[in-house]
Amino acid sequence: MDDMVKDISTQEIKDTVLIDTPQNPAFCRQLKKTTNARICIGRAGSRFKTETLLKFRADHAIAMDAVWSDVDEGLIDRLGFFKVQTQVNNKEEYIRRPDLGRIFSKETTEQIKANCIMSPDVQLIVADGLSGYAIDANLEDIFGILTDGLTAKGYKVGTPIFVKYSRVATMDKISEALNAKVTIQLIGERPGLATGESMSCYMAYESSSKKPESQRTVVSNIYRKGIPPVEAGAQIIHLTDVLMREKKSGTELKL
């Protein structure tokens, strides 16, 4: 292994103090815990050290990779999702044309209607969004607790749907096609430096393209270092109860 180059992206910037001779290294580490900013990194003359610069570029690359990554469809198949695609044809188009990422062709809408349970209490949708990695990292845990929990509560749970090249608004189209009460969409978040694994959940009661964006209730930052996927799942089940009871969602709802 000695002749291998170390993978700089796996190293936690938070644990490394790069100042040459820190007076109080313990305090530097303590300070670093309080912020995500890259502090206590030292310098070479007036510039970054090589290691800092490389780490920065590696972290940026994680964000870039996440955007261009595809969701592992093996996982999607194993969990029994019905798979569809928006009007987008490839990743380049997905990035350039957000509008196409919100709509389906007529045929796709018909397919959804023909293959999925109609009028469910709860419709679950997974969308790749801006990070396929986020779905790969979190889906299995959150899907398990969601389906078990919602079923145990006696809800009519719809056929889970996976949407490729999807923006958030596809949930409105699916809800309208299937006449769902509560729609839950799990979507890969726009990646940040070194965080490509964060997933969001958008929920709405009678989700509809005629309603404003404020119809949606949001749980974000779902990943191992944010709100853990199992705990997010339990909170989403709780929120489903609230949405079903109040028959509304988003800003109309006083939580």
């Binding site: 398990g144 607790i145 078990d148 199992v230 339990a234």
Partner: protein, 471 residues
């Protein structure tokens, strides 16, 4: 959401009794649909006079006088018992070792309010005093370890803080009132706790009740106390008699921290007053002022600077009133009908990461539960990372299979990692008829006891305490 809790702190010490009222403000800082209730601010709204602790002639605590005093202070502060949501009555120093201490504590905590906890034990006292003195905060803000000595009448309680957290606590029989004397120097009382030390110093014939004390002898004694504290902080060796002053256990090794002093004696550490004769010493009928000036002189003569505490004589009562409470995480699972819960013993179970280990821990759980034949203790699961869903299920099944449901008691689970709502939900499927309280972001250990209050927003207040009269 912005809510507040009214909290009381009562410190029943060897020498003095004090009461404070404070308001603890809570705020939901959620930006999404996941609540995040945090303590946003603490404000001390009333400080009582510092009273002498009422003691009967047979050395028991005078409960009626004490109740009277507490009642008077509640009236003066304009606070009714029913207004209080939380707080702590702490019995400290030598007072905790009096014959009727346990009864007094219980009666006083009921008298003080419904959800006011009774606490004692030198380690908890050390922790609360250090937090009240500001040693915890200082260690967090300055990046250096801080050791606080709270020197009271009967005991000195030490707590070492690193990055805001207490890393160790210990206590010693060193205090201002271990020797009491009259204005003319006649000694009234010498605590048996310092007998060996007096022998070691060759003072056993000169310092005992009835004898007139010599200034130089008292000074030798207080200088020796100061020297012991200095040598502890410097991790230097102690004489056999000095070692015997530790209560319960000695202190572990640590790196040289900053030193801070609180407690009644600290009033004379941080003041420019040096007793020159017996009359100066006997200001309060004890050796407190002389001990304070000895500590100041000894530390400065040896080049060790003392950090200024935020509170001196009031450190413990402020610690009890404002630092005894913590909040659970905000995504939890709590059957409100069984709250509040008081004085529940804690049983710790280390949470292994792999499924096989979780199954193995079922056996350990059953064995440990035999120590609690009549009560179902709170299960505290350590471990900082939330497990996968399949491990949550394994864990829930393991717990459901091994707890004695026939006791028909609520099941209380305390997690360190953030997955209480997930575990609570999953447990409910296995234990449909059991009332479940599953909380996270709580650290508790074997031997601790907990109190859990009614929910505030989506969190619940929790007091983790080391119990009452273990020493």
């Amino acid at each position: 959401m912005q809510e507040s809790l009214l909290s009381v702190g009562v410190d029943l010490g060897t020498t003095t009794t004090q009461i404070i009222f404070s308001r603890i403000y809570l705020e939901d800082k959620a930006v999404t649909a996941v609540p995040e209730v945090k303590i946003s601010r603490k404000e001390i709204i009333y400080k009582s006079t510092v009273y002498f602790t009422p003691v009967l002639s047979d050395n028991r605590i005078d409960l009626p006088a004490l109740k009277n005093l507490v009642e008077k202070e509640y009236l003066k502060a304009g606070i009714k018992k029913n207004d209080l949501q939380t707080g702590a009555v702490i019995i400290t120093g030598e007072t905790a070792r009096k014959e009727n201490a346990s009864a007094v504590l219980q009666s006083l905590s009921d008298f003080a309010g419904d959800f006011v906890v009774a606490t004692a034990g030198p380690d908890l006292e050390s922790l609360l005093a250090g937090l009240g003195a500001g040693a915890g905060e200082k260690s967090k803000n300055h990046g250096e370890a801080v050791l606080n000595f709270d020197i009271g009448g009967g005991t000195t309680n030490a707590a070492l803080f690193i990055d805001g957290e207490a890393s160790s606590t210990f206590a010693l029989d060193i205090g201002g009132r271990l020797l009491r004397l009259q204005k003319d120097g006649t000694i009234n009382y010498v605590s048996a706790k310092i007998k060996d030390l007096l022998v070691e110093l060759g003072l056993e014939d000169k310092i005992h009740p009835g004898e007139k004390a010599d200034f130089a002898d008292l000074h030798l004694l207080t200088r020796t106390f100061a020297k012991i504290l200095y040598r502890i902080i410097k991790q230097l060796t102690l004489t056999p008699a000095a070692k015997k002053l530790f209560i319960g256990h000695e202190c572990g090794p640590f790196e040289l921290p900053l030193a801070m002093i609180s407690g009644g004696v600290a009033e004379y550490v941080y003041r420019d007053f040096t007793p020159r004769n017996i009359e100066d010493v006997a200001l309060f009928g004890d050796i407190g002022p002389l001990l304070g000036s000895s500590v100041r002189d000894y530390f400065s003569a040896h080049g060790m600077q003392l950090q200024k505490p935020k509170e001196k004589i009031r450190a413990t009562v402020i610690g009890a009133g404002t630092h005894s409470l913590c909040l659970s995480g905000s995504t939890i699972s709590a059957d409100e009908s069984v709250l509040p819960i008081k004085n529940l013993p804690v049983m710790q179970l280390s949470l292994e990461q792999s499924t096989a280990d979780i199954e193995k821990s079922g056996k350990i759980l059953q064995q440990k539960l035999r120590l609690f034949p009549d009560d179902l203790p709170a299960l505290a699961l350590a471990g900082t990372a939330a497990p996968s869903y399949s491990d949550v299920k394994t864990l829930a099944r393991m717990i459901a299979e091994n707890i004695p449901v026939q006791l028909n008691q609520p099941l209380v689970i305390l997690l360190e990692a953030d997955f209480a709502k997930a575990l609570g939900l999953t447990l409910k499927r296995y234990l449909a008829d059991t009332q479940i309280i599953c909380l996270d972001r709580i650290k508790a250990h074997d031997g601790d006891y907990i109190d859990i209050g009614r929910s505030i927003g989506s969190a619940v207040p929790v007091v983790v305490k080391t119990l009452i009269f273990t020493a």
